[in-house]
Structures are given as structure tokens and as C-alpha cells.
């Protein structure tokens, strides 16, 4: 049988695995986030012929990851910074993230921390770019309040 991992799939993987991983981690935390990432990428592997022709494959995979991990309904938990190996990060950050809604977390993390455009976040979440703008602004404001900082560098 021919090796199905094509250069095209590898390129897609390289470009989008981190994006999906970051989105799911922001939305659900490490537990369901890891599962959702794996489920979405597993689906991508199995259905590459179908996925490659989609206009918005990342948005599709995001929903696949959501759907396939619906069964896990535990609360979203963000572990202490030391537990994930980044003890130099502000210790209050995990708790501050919990003050944001799921969409706000995803929007802030992807747009503010990882440099996604608002259009890209909108395609992922299935909302408008203006909604993403609102999520980012309100999310950052909430984070600043929770962390008691006035502005970030």
C-alpha cells in the first residue's frame, strides 16, 4: 500500500497542528484540549481526501474536536504554572484565564498571544471578525483586571 502521508498532508500538519492545539488548550485546558487535538488530527488523517478540498479545514477540524470530546464534561481546569513546566510565568494566570468565557479565551490566546488575525479566529469559531474583536478586547480587559495590571508591554 502506498504511503498515505503525502507532502501535502505533512505541510498541512506542520501549519495547523499548533493552531488547533493552542485553540483547544485555550478552550478546554490540558485534558480535553489534548484529546480534542488528537481527535481532530486523527480525523484529518482519515479524511484527508475530503478535508483538502474544504474552504475552511481548520474550522471544520475545530468542530470535529469539539464534537468528539463532548462526552468529557469535566470543568475546564488550568493547572498551576509550575505543573506544566513554566514556573516563571505569572502564577495568577491560570486562575485569570478562568474568568474569561470559552470564546474569549480562544480569541485572546490565538489573536493576542499567537498572532492570528481576527479573520482566522473568526473562521475557527464560526463567528464574525467583529465578534472576535469584542472577545479580544473584553478578554484582555478581564485578564488585566484579574491580574491587577493596567497594561501589558
Amino acid at each position: 500500500m502506498a504511503e498515505p502521508v503525502t507532502d501535502e498532508f505533512e505541510a498541512f500538519w506542520a501549519a495547523n497542528e499548533p493552531r488547533l492545539r493552542h485553540a483547544f488548550a485555550a478552550a478546554y485546558g490540558p485534558g480535553r484540549g489534548a484529546d480534542a487535538t488528537a481527535e481532530a488530527l486523527a480525523w484529518a488523517w482519515e479524511h484527508w481526501a475530503r478535508l483538502r478540498d474544504m474552504a475552511n479545514p481548520v474550522g471544520y477540524l475545530y468542530r470535529v474536536g469539539q464534537s468528539r470530546t463532548r462526552r468529557r464534561k469535566e470543568p475546564v481546569l488550568f493547572p498551576p504554572v509550575g505543573a506544566v513546566g513554566v514556573p516563571w510565568v505569572e502564577p495568577a494566570l491560570p486562575g485569570a484565564l478562568l474568568t474569561l468565557t470559552e470564546h474569549q479565551r480562544v480569541a485572546v490566546v490565538l489573536a493576542h498571544a499567537f498572532g492570528w488575525t481576527h479573520r482566522e479566529v473568526a473562521d475557527l469559531l464560526g463567528v464574525s471578525a467583529s465578534t472576535v474583536q469584542n472577545h479580544v478586547e473584553r478578554g484582555i480587559a478581564k485578564l488585566r483586571d484579574a491580574l491587577e495590571v493596567n497594561a501589558d508591554a
Binding site: 498515505p4 502521508v5 500538519w13 488548550a25 490540558p30 489534548a34 464534561k73 481546569l77 488550568f78 485578564l143
Partner: protein
């Protein structure tokens, strides 16, 4: 904080480790191969064919090998108990045919059963009985299916789970699970005949997960999984000596490789060896025998292909294991597939004697529990908040349960959904409090929480016993129609497939909120002022899709759906936001 963006980037990036295509290739078939389940079944069929043909032991190249190192005693048990996830009921099954002999637990409002633990000598099975989100009790079920609660709370607001009775019936281990930020799993070892009563919080990490308990034959050692949802902390296997250890951290940690939480399982064998399954990432699962005292591996029993989850159970030297939806009985160095239906979980292989007793013995009532403990409600003042101007308080309990209290502290009702927890003020301003109760029943309490003064009257919650004809599942929430005659209710079915239903407020009869026929994948969004419901119909994921395409529809109570906004059927990355006609 000097750089919020950088901190977010580093923290989120550390939460989930990167996946490589190699990991997916190990765990999945070639493109077009038909899915993991088919792959696992095919792999198992290949192994069985090899065994039947006399090919011995190890086969490499296909990613599957059965290695004969340890030979358990002959004489396999013939029955096991397990939980049918569709019905969420405990059943007794034939280990040869995979057929269900009979259900052992009844359908009960509020949730199903899980984590059975068999006390063979008394034909008793301890189970966890779900009572809602973050609420479960520990019940006993006898061979006749008579069930009685052993450990619970009133109101049901704590998650007691994972019971494990020692083989001699002397000790019961169970878990009080974490359910909210800051909670920790707590392991209890409860003496049934002796005064032993140990409480051992997992103090090293607030996100630690404990579970999958197994007792040694002599009842001295308790093996369990100690893990974390994060990939950066693989699951550990620990063995607690209940005669000397007093904390979870005192337990001996076995020397295993990195083990993924969902594929790590433990089960003591009759000779005192501890069998442990372990897989690193999406690689094949290896089952090894360990010395529980020294914590070192003694032998490798067998290996099965990579799987999302794995469990095992031991009796009479045989190993019953589940790899995904594939069941097999391993004994005498070879595995035999059990042609059971999928959706069986939490399997417990019965010793021969217990199997016979469970099949034929019929005690009609449960003997009084040797020791029964009722754990009372816990109120944490730190989590007590009040709704302004109402005289009513909401207790946000650490378990995630939400309880309504009057000014005297009397419990008016209890809910269990985080949405109420998140925004009680918003919910109260429209004059209705939207209650969500997990389980088979839901309840609505119409209130006037916005009143300025005077005593607040909260009518009793209106409980509905309604069961749509779509198999297993549970209600998630409901909203009453403007005329008060109908509820628009959200059902979460098998595969957590969502579907929206109308429930007649008078007759309690549910009917699908859409075209008649099969329930479609849909979400109840709310009501329009004209009495029609807003329903979001999704593309097909777990349940069929609306033939006219996914989107948001206005659905009248007869089921006629008028499209308001439709999307392409291939586009899953969307969601509708509910709104109200009065908003």
C-alpha cells in the same frame, strides 16, 4: 506582569504537547481504512487467525504481538459484569458469546451506574450511581438487582465514585472526586469490619486524578492510578500499603515507562502479582506483571495494538480486557475475542463461583451494610453569594453544585449547572430562573427574583418525568414557552448527540422539535414571541441531520420548521447564539 502576550504564549503552549504524524500513523489506519474501530477489530482477527493456525507468540511488522511469557492457570471464568453505556446499566454477560444474561441495575432517575466492584463471596456488587453533574453515590447491588445506597449526601452534591471492595470484604476504598477549581481527589479507605478509616487527599497536585482501584488478594495493598490530565505528567501506578501508608504520597510508585492515563489500568492477580497496562502516547499497549512490594516488572504478558483507551480485569488467572470497543479474554498465552456489542465499559471478570452465584442465587433483600456512613452536606461560607434584593442566596459549592438558600439557610432547591453559577443576575432579571438538572429529570422554577422587597416565594420546582424514545441519554435544560404550555428541552443522547424536544407541560409527553421521525442533531436556542421555538440544526455528527440542511430554524409546536439561516452541510465550525424576544 511585563508581557501578557508572552506569558499566555508560553503557558498555553505548555498545556498540550505537540502531536506528530507518526503518533497518528501508529494509532490509525491508512487513509480510507475505515476508522480505528475497524482497524482494531481487523488486527484482533489477524491475531486470532494466527493463534488458531498454531503460529506462536510474537508477530512483528503488523504492530501486534502476543508474547507468551506467563501462563496463568487453566479454567476460565465464563461470566463478567459490565456497564452498557447506551443504557447506563450494569449487566451480567457471558464471556464466551458476549451476550447479556440480564441487567443487574435498574434505570433510575438522575443517572446511571459505573465502576462496579464485585465482592464475590457475598454476590454483592458495589457501584457508583450518578446523581447529576458532580454528584454520585456509592450503592450496593445484589444478585437479584436490588440496589441500596451505601454512601451519599443529602442533598446529593458530592461525587463519590470508584468503589473497590477488598476480596475479603474487610475494606472499601472509594473516591471523593474533584469537581471544581481547587478541589482535590480524596481517597478513602473505609474499614467494614475494623475501625480503619483513612482519608488521603492527593496533595501533590490539585489536578491529580485518582482511580481504577484494585485490591491485593490479601487485602493489604491497594493499587491505583495516579495521574494528571496534562500530557506533561504521565499516569503513575501506585500501591498503597494500608497498614503503614497514611497519604497517597506514601504509596510505592511502580517503575513503569511513561503511561498515557486512558490506557493505564491495574488488576491484582490471585498470586499477588499486579498486572499493569501501559502505553506511551498512541503506541501499542503492553500488559506486564509487577511485584507490588518492590515495584519492579517481572514479566510481560501480552501486547495489543494502540487504542484510545484500555481496561483490564483478572479472575482465575485469566485476563479480560477491553481495547476501545474490542473485548477479549486472555489466558494460557493467547487471546480470544469476545463478540460483544460495543459500548461495554467498566468490565469485571467474575470468578467461577461468583458467576454461578450471580446467575442462580437470588437473595431478595440486601443484608444491612456492615458499616454505613452518611456524609452530610458541607457548606462553605467562602462560596456563599446572594442575589441582591431577593432574600435568596446561591451557594456555589466547590463541587460545582448550586444550591438555593433562603435567609434562614433552608435549602430551597439545588441545581447543578455551571451556567447558573456563572451569571445568576442575568438569569434572574427576566423574572425566570432557568434551572438545569442533569439526569433523567429536569425541573423548572418560575420565580420573580427581581422584586424589590418583601418575602420571596419560590414555587416548588416542577419536575417532569419525560423520556424521549431515542434510547439512552439525559436532559440538560429546558425553557418554558411564552404561554406556559410547552417546554423546549435539550436532550443529550448516545454519543452525546444533542436534540431539541418539545415537552407538553400538562401531559409531559416529549416530541422532537422538528419534522417528525428520527431525532436530528439539534440545539434548543429559545422561544420567539410568536410561540415558535428557535432550533439550531447541525450537520450530521452523531445523529442524522435535517434533510433541508443545517442552520437556524423557527419551529412551531407541530414540528414545522422554517429556515431563518442555513449553512453549508460540510461546515461544522459554526454555532448559533441564542437570543430572546424580550432581550
Amino acid at each position: 506582569m511585563p508581557d501578557l502576550a508572552a506569558a499566555l504564549r508560553e503557558y498555553v503552549d505548555a498545556l498540550v504537547e505537540p502531536l506528530s504524524t507518526d503518533e497518528v500513523r501508529l494509532g490509525l489506519p491508512s487513509r480510507g481504512g475505515g476508522g480505528r474501530r475497524r482497524w482494531i477489530v481487523l488486527a484482533a482477527a489477524v491475531v486470532l487467525a494466527l493463534v488458531a493456525a498454531g503460529v506462536v507468540a510474537t508477530r512483528d511488522g503488523g504492530g501486534h504481538k502476543v508474547k507468551t511469557i506467563d501462563r496463568p492457570s487453566v479454567g476460565a471464568p465464563r461470566q463478567f459484569v459490565g456497564v452498557d453505556e447506551r443504557a447506563v446499566r450494569l449487566g451480567l454477560y457471558d464471556a464466551t458469546t458476549g451476550k447479556r444474561v440480564r441487567y443487574l441495575s435498574a434505570v433510575a432517575p438522575g443517572g446511571g451506574v459505573s465502576s462496579p466492584s464485585v465482592w464475590a463471596a457475598q454476590s454483592l456488587i458495589y457501584v457508583s450511581r450518578g446523581l447529576g453533574t458532580c454528584a454520585s453515590a456509592i450503592d450496593m447491588i445484589n444478585a437479584s438487582g436490588v440496589e441500596r445506597q451505601l454512601i451519599g449526601t443529602d442533598p446529593p452534591n458530592r461525587p463519590f465514585a470508584n468503589p473497590a471492595i477488598s476480596p475479603d470484604g474487610a475494606h472499601l476504598a472509594y473516591l471523593e472526586g474533584a469537581c471544581g477549581p481547587g478541589d482535590v481527589d480524596t481517597l478513602y479507605v473505609h474499614g467494614v469490619r475494623t475501625p480503619l478509616d483513612l482519608s488521603m487527599p492527593a496533595t501533590t497536585a490539585t489536578d491529580a486524578v485518582l482511580g481504577r482501584f484494585s485490591w491485593s488478594p490479601d487485602g493489604r495493598y491497594l493499587a491505583f492510578i495516579y495521574g494528571s490530565p496534562t500530557d506533561t505528567h504521565p499516569a503513575q501506578v501506585r500501591v498503597l500499603d494500608i497498614e503503614t501508608d497514611r497519604r497517597v504520597e506514601d504509596a510505592t510508585t511502580l517503575t513503569t515507562g511513561p503511561c498515557r492515563l486512558s490506557t493505564t489500568a491495574v488488576a491484582f492477580r490471585e498470586d499477588g502479582m499486579l498486572l499493569v497496562s501501559c502505553a506511551d502516547g498512541l503506541r501499542p499497549v503492553t500488559v506486564r506483571a509487577y511485584d507490588p512490594v518492590s515495584g519492579t516488572a517481572q514479566a510481560t504478558l501480552f501486547t495489543v495494538p494502540a487504542t484510545p483507551d484500555f481496561e483490564l480485569s483478572v479472575a482465575d488467572g485469566a485476563v479480560l480486557y477491553r481495547s476501545g470497543d474490542h473485548l477479549a479474554l486472555w489466558q494460557n498465552g493467547s487471546a480470544r475475542a469476545i463478540p460483544a456489542e460495543p459500548f461495554l465499559r467498566d468490565l469485571q471478570l467474575l470468578p467461577r463461583g461468583a458467576a454461578t452465584a450471580a446467575s442462580t442465587a437470588a437473595p431478595t433483600t440486601l443484608a444491612p451494610a456492615p458499616t454505613t456512613r452518611l456524609i452530610g452536606p458541607r457548606l462553605d461560607p467562602a462560596h456563599l453569594g446572594a442575589i441582591p434584593r431577593t432574600g435568596i442566596a446561591i451557594d456555589f459549592r466547590p463541587s460545582g453544585t448550586v444550591v438555593l438558600l433562603d435567609v434562614n439557610g433552608n435549602v430551597l432547591g439545588h441545581l447543578d449547572h455551571a451556567e447558573v453559577l456563572l451569571s445568576p443576575h442575568e438569569r434572574a432579571t427576566d423574572g425566570r430562573l432557568h434551572l438545569r438538572v442533569a439526569g433523567d429529570n429536569f425541573a423548572l422554577a418560575a420565580t420573580a427574583l427581581e422584586r424589590d422587597a418583601g418575602p420571596l416565594v419560590v414555587p416548588p420546582a416542577r419536575e417532569i418525568n419525560a423520556w424521549p424514545s431515542v434510547g439512552a441519554g439525559h436532559w440538560e435544560d429546558a425553557v418554558v414557552s411564552p404561554d406556559g404550555r410547552t417546554w423546549l428541552a435539550q436532550w443529550s443522547g448516545e454519543c452525546e448527540a444533542p436534540s431539541a424536544w418539545f415537552v407538553d407541560a400538562r401531559t409531559h409527553q416529549p416530541r422532537f422539535a422538528g419534522p417528525s421521525g428520527t431525532a436530528l442533531e439539534s440545539y434548543a436556542l429559545g422561544w420567539l414571541a410568536d410561540g415558535r421555538a428557535l432550533v439550531q440544526f447541525d450537520p450530521e455528527i452523531c445523529a442524522p441531520a435535517l434533510p433541508s440542511g443545517p442552520g437556524v430554524y423557527a419551529v412551531d409546536v407541530s414540528g414545522h420548521a422554517t429556515p431563518l439561516y442555513t449553512i453549508d452541510k460540510d461546515y461544522l465550525g459554526w454555532t448559533a447564539t441564542s437570543w430572546t424576544s424580550t432581550g
